[in-house]
Symmetry: C3
Subunit: 171 residues, 3 copies
Amino acid sequence: MTTTTKLRAEDLAALRAEIDEFNTAYADCLDDGDLNDWIGFFTPDCIYKVLPRENLEQNLPLAVIYAEGHGGLTDRVVGVTKTTVYRKRYLRHFITNTRIRSVAHDATGGDTVRAEANYQVLETLPGEYTKILNAGRYMDIFTRQGGALKLKERLCVYDSEMVPATIVYPL
Amino acid sequence: MTTTTKLRAEDLAALRAEIDEFNTAYADCLDDGDLNDWIGFFTPDCIYKVLPRENLEQNLPLAVIYAEGHGGLTDRVVGVTKTTVYRKRYLRHFITNTRIRSVAHDATGGDTVRAEANYQVLETLPGEYTKILNAGRYMDIFTRQGGALKLKERLCVYDSEMVPATIVYPL
Amino acid sequence: MTTTTKLRAEDLAALRAEIDEFNTAYADCLDDGDLNDWIGFFTPDCIYKVLPRENLEQNLPLAVIYAEGHGGLTDRVVGVTKTTVYRKRYLRHFITNTRIRSVAHDATGGDTVRAEANYQVLETLPGEYTKILNAGRYMDIFTRQGGALKLKERLCVYDSEMVPATIVYPL
């Protein structure tokens, strides 16, 4: 049984700060860290999708990236690692405007938090100026396991249906 | 009678978090929500202006958008709704660097908060890549009514005097 | 003697909020304020460097801007003030994704905080649209002196090795 909870303003602010910290560590892993650590931000049975806003609004299931569970994420990491041999690039995430949609407690004492945030990923290719690679919003379902938040689902819903060929990295 | 208040660091941090939450909800309304809800972020006697930094610095009163009160905002919403029939676009706000300029209490127990924040609005047109539509700072006067903050005045002061024809949406 | 400290979650959140406030004031000074005030964000014996990520990763010491102490920063301010006579421009900073790397206390009761944040600086030249001037991360060493944080070291590590000629302003 799940109970939707109305949090006090202080608790909501603390939860928002915790999600910001999570997203900062997530971005740091993708921008400046080890891509293998990226998997650790998700639950073992997670869903990870990258799709255009157009598809979301029209209820089209098509996603340019779809990964299920740690196995699916691992496949993605392997794919990226191979691809990036060919061309080096730098990414830089800017994650802002975090909003909590709902918080629920289940019978086992776990928490489920639905949240969104705006993201902007800048890309820098060798010998080129920095430009906008992709921008949109994260639509997330977090669960709390052993004290720390993990992503049970992350949809990266981007605004432009023009997908650069370079979207092979996770967003 | 109005008293300017020196807040303790914790109270200032809480107020800043509250303004961030306000701006996040404001952006969410413009980016992914219902434009009619935008009016609810303002007081009935509000001022809303969009103007170039150049004009602000030279004390020129010219603004590309000027709206007074809920009536003026409603006119703007109607205008946008009609215009956007012609071309669909997605906006995405990134609001950061919130700073509080002053906090004052009046005799009736109300609060007036002067604050600023940097904003960047990305625009995505169908079949195009995401690009910067407009960037600048909000110069705000918030008042607290019935517990919640509302905008008594918002100036959207943008850095480029090049105004894309597509600025019909509120920023 | 220096002790590395493990902070409680609340204290870490408060410290992160304090650094965000610092960076907001720093950006406000560069974007809308008086460049002479910029020096006050640093300790008298500070290091300030602007360098490409490429150089950092290859341990190359080359920086496009290198300033030591208040004297070095003052030279930079004088240089900028002279240069900008020729062409006016507006800058706008977006500083997000603040992460604390370590916190240490020394024997004299002082604090040393290593932190990073992502920055994006937009530039607007007269008669042009707003564009990305520079993006990267701040790699900082803060010290606490008399209650307030100051920068003992700030490295502005940018992602694109393409340096616009217009990087004369501090970032």
